[in-house]
Structures are given as C-alpha cells and as structure tokens.
C-alpha cells in the first residue's frame, strides 16, 4: 500500500494522532491566557446585543409558591458588614439636581413593590426569590436626574462596588430591596438595602448599598468582579 516515501502513511498518521493528543491538551492550558483577548474582542458586541434585547417593560414573574429559600446561596467577597439601621443613610449624589441622604423611613415612605423573580448567579445556580422595596427609579427620581447621567455607580458598606447603565437602573422591576420572601432582609442577604432585579446576574446586585452616584461615563472602577475579568453588562 503506502510506500515509505508517502509522507502520510497509515502508520505515520496514527502516530501523529497519538502524538498530537497530548500536545492539544497542553495547548489547552496555554490557551487560558488567550481567553481574556477573546473576551476583549467579543464582549462589546455581546453587550450591545444584550442591551438591545432588554426591553423597558415588565418581565413575567414567578408565583409566590415557587419561591425556594434554600436555593439562595450566600456570596460575599468580604464577609458581612455591621450596619446600624438607625444610623443608616443612602447617599444619592453625582449628576443630580437634589443630592439626597435617605434614611430607612424615607425609603419605606416611597411606593413599595414586590418582584418574584429568578436570581441567577454567574456560577450557574439560581433561586426564585420574592424581593420587595422601593423602585430604584423612584429613589433616583427623588434626587432629580441630570440629562447627562448615563451610569450609576453603586457603593456598598463592605467596599464592594458596581456600576450600571441607567436603562437597567430605571427598569420597573429593579428594586432597592429591604425585604426578602415577606420578611425584613437578613444581614447576610444585604440588610438593610440591596439591589434586586430579574435583568442582571447576581454579581451586579450589590448588597449593603450605601451610595448611588450618577455619572456621565464609566470610570476605571467598573465593578469589583468586572475589574477582574467578568462581563460588565451581565444582562439576563
């Protein structure tokens, strides 16, 4: 059959196949660094499509009977901060006409909404949760948004930080939740105030929120996890 001159005899081909397999696996490890470049190239387009997909209207919700408290896992990059509810203030600053320092009474005086939605973690798990509290849009409206505002920078008591596009922040199901599953928010879940929405991955939903700052552009600090490589838009 194949002569020795044949550069791809059956024997050689099999040898190449066997020899090539480990090289492929080693190559896989070397490719890990390339992933970041792949993300840099493709993420802007993905994020643009995600923003286009995201409507301004309400999304369907779950039935309260579908809530599964045990499914909701606790994630925090830096433990649980201690916050005195009496001394708590939510600062709204930046590109606003009336900067605010809201206490919990002021937040409770705003119209209260409940969302029964799926909380999806970037790790892959999810949990149906009933969140309630005022809409983030109502809180921002108190402060009077400047037309220049395009992004919201969110500060937390545990030094976690996030930034959102304004359209997602103004979504009717984006809440500053003070209650979870009908009871006051537990400390580990972000008491007294955390973000909740059906349209973002869990790492966008800051716990222990203490400050909202309206900005015209995204700064260098885009989010604790985003600055380490996670996608910024993170829409669902």
């Amino acid at each position: 059959m194949a002569t020795p001159a044949d550069p791809l005899s059956r024997r050689r081909s099999l040898g190449l196949l066997l020899g090539g397999a480990p090289a492929l696996l080693l190559g896989g490890c070397a490719l890990n660094g390339v992933g970041e470049a792949v993300g840099t190239v493709t993420q802007p387009l993905n994020e643009r499509i995600e923003a286009l997909l995201q409507g301004k209207g309400k999304l369907p919700e779950f039935r309260p009977s579908q809530v599964d408290p045990a499914a909701l896992l606790i994630n925090s990059f830096n433990g649980t901060p201690e916050i005195d509810p009496g001394g708590y203030r939510l600062a709204v600053a930046g590109l606003v006409s009336r900067p605010q320092r809201l206490d919990l009474t002021a937040l409770a005086a705003l119209p209260q909404h409940q969302c029964v939605i799926r909380h999806v973690c970037v790790e892959g798990w999810s949990a149906v949760v009933a969140w309630s509290g005022p809409r983030l849009a109502d809180v921002l409206a108190l402060a009077g948004l400047s037309p220049l505002a395009g992004y919201v920078f969110i500060e937390s008591a545990d030094q976690y930080y996030e930034s959102w596009d304004l359209a997602s922040a103004l979504h009717p199901q984006t809440l500053l939740a003070t209650h979870m599953n009908g009871a006051p928010l537990p400390a580990a879940n972000g008491a007294p105030v955390r973000l909740a929405t059906p349209i973002k991955l869990g790492y966008k939903l800051s716990k222990w929120v203490t400050g909202l700052k309206l900005m015209a552009t995204l700064g260098d600090r885009r989010g604790y996890w985003e600055d380490q490589g996670y996608e910024w838009f993170a829409g669902l």
Partner: protein
C-alpha cells in the same frame, strides 16, 4: 473494505478546500465550546452544587470562571453561525434523499452492507446537528432566561415532580456533551469503515 490492495491506488480525491476547512473549523469550535463549558460547570457543578465533583482541569479551558465565560460567549456566535451554515447545506443537499425516505428506507429494505453503513453514517451526522441545535437552544435559555422566558418555559415540565426548570436546563445543556462525544465516536468509526484512511485524508486540511 471495498478498496482492493492489488490494484494500484487511485490518487486521493480531496474534498474541496472550503469543505475541509469548514469541517476542521467545526471540530475546533465544538472542542472550544465543550471545554469552556466544562470550566463554567466547575464553578458550581450541576450535580452536587458547591460540594459536587468537578471536571479535571485537563478537559477545561479558560483557567477560571471568567476565562471560561470569555471563551464560551466569545465563540458562541461562531458556533451558532457554523451550525446555521451546516444545517442549511445539509437541508439543501439531502432534501430529496431524506424526503424520499432515502437513508431510513435503505436501513429498512437494503441488505447491502456498505450501503447500509453509508446510510447509518449520514443519520449519525444528522443526529449530531440535532444535538448541537439542542445545545444552542438550552444555552440561549440559560444565557438570557429573563428576556427569553418563553424559551425556558418548555423546560418546566418536571416542576410538578420537584425539578426546577433551571436545573432541567442545566442537565439538558450538559447532556449534549456526552451525546455529541458518542456521536463523534460513531462518526469517526463509521467514516473509517466507509472509506478508511483515504476518506480521512480526503477531509484533512
């Protein structure tokens, strides 16, 4: 094998370059999607959650969760486009044969072994397309569960039995990896039996 060892071999008829390139590119894209998918799996194993067994690092791509997601969502566009072209080509080429009960009819009626083998092989890669299409649907449903809630809805069939639609989706999406691995194995074995090394070489780039 049909090829005679006594006659001098005819020169290998290579498939057109674009076919070979497309074939290799498909393999590469599927490997990248599977390996990066297993990297994402390891962040929270579908079976066992945080305490569950993880996939060996050898089979993963990306190094950590964000790296795996970079690859998975970076390549998904190519994956979907490839799949579209592939399905389009097959529908165009096989429309008559499939519609006229070509391969299925052969399997039912013919006792000609090489002919049956060829028919089985064509059915195998038709099944591959169905599995890959299913992975795309389950993947999209988990990528945008809020916007594509209607895509998630069909997977809530097991909710009465206590299985959340999300877990069903995760299992379905993961199951496409062993399914495609089996079909890939069948594809390799069958192509060997249909055309031997000559067929392999005719498709190599």
């Amino acid at each position: 094998m049909p090829a005679s060892t006594k006659r001098p071999m005819a020169p290998i008829r290579y498939a057109p370059l674009w076919t070979r390139a497309f074939h290799s590119f498909n393999l590469l894209v599927i490997l990248l999607m599977a390996a990066s998918g297993l990297q994402i799996y390891n962040a929270n194993p579908v079976f066992g959650g945080r305490g569950g067994a993880t996939v060996p690092e050898l089979f993963t791509l990306g190094g950590w969760l964000a790296g795996g997601r970079d690859w998975h969502f970076g390549v998904m566009g190519l994956y979907a486009a490839n799949l579209g072209v592939w399905i389009g080509l097959l529908i165009r080429q096989r429309h008559q044969r499939l519609a006229a009960m070509g391969d299925l009819g052969t399997l039912r009626a013919s006792s000609n072994t090489p002919k049956r083998r060829l028919a089985v092989h064509r059915l195998v890669y038709t099944l591959m397309l169905i599995v890959l299409g299913f992975s795309l649907i389950t993947g999209l449903a988990m990528y945008k569960p809020a916007q594509f809630w209607w895509l998630v809805a069909p997977f809530s069939f097991a909710e009465a039995a206590g299985h959340d639609s999300w877990q069903v989706l995760r299992v379905c999406h993961l199951a496409t990896i062993p399914a495609i691995a089996l079909l890939l194995g069948a594809h390799v074995v069958l192509s060997w039996r249909v055309g031997g090394l000559r067929l392999w070489r005719s498709m190599a780039v």
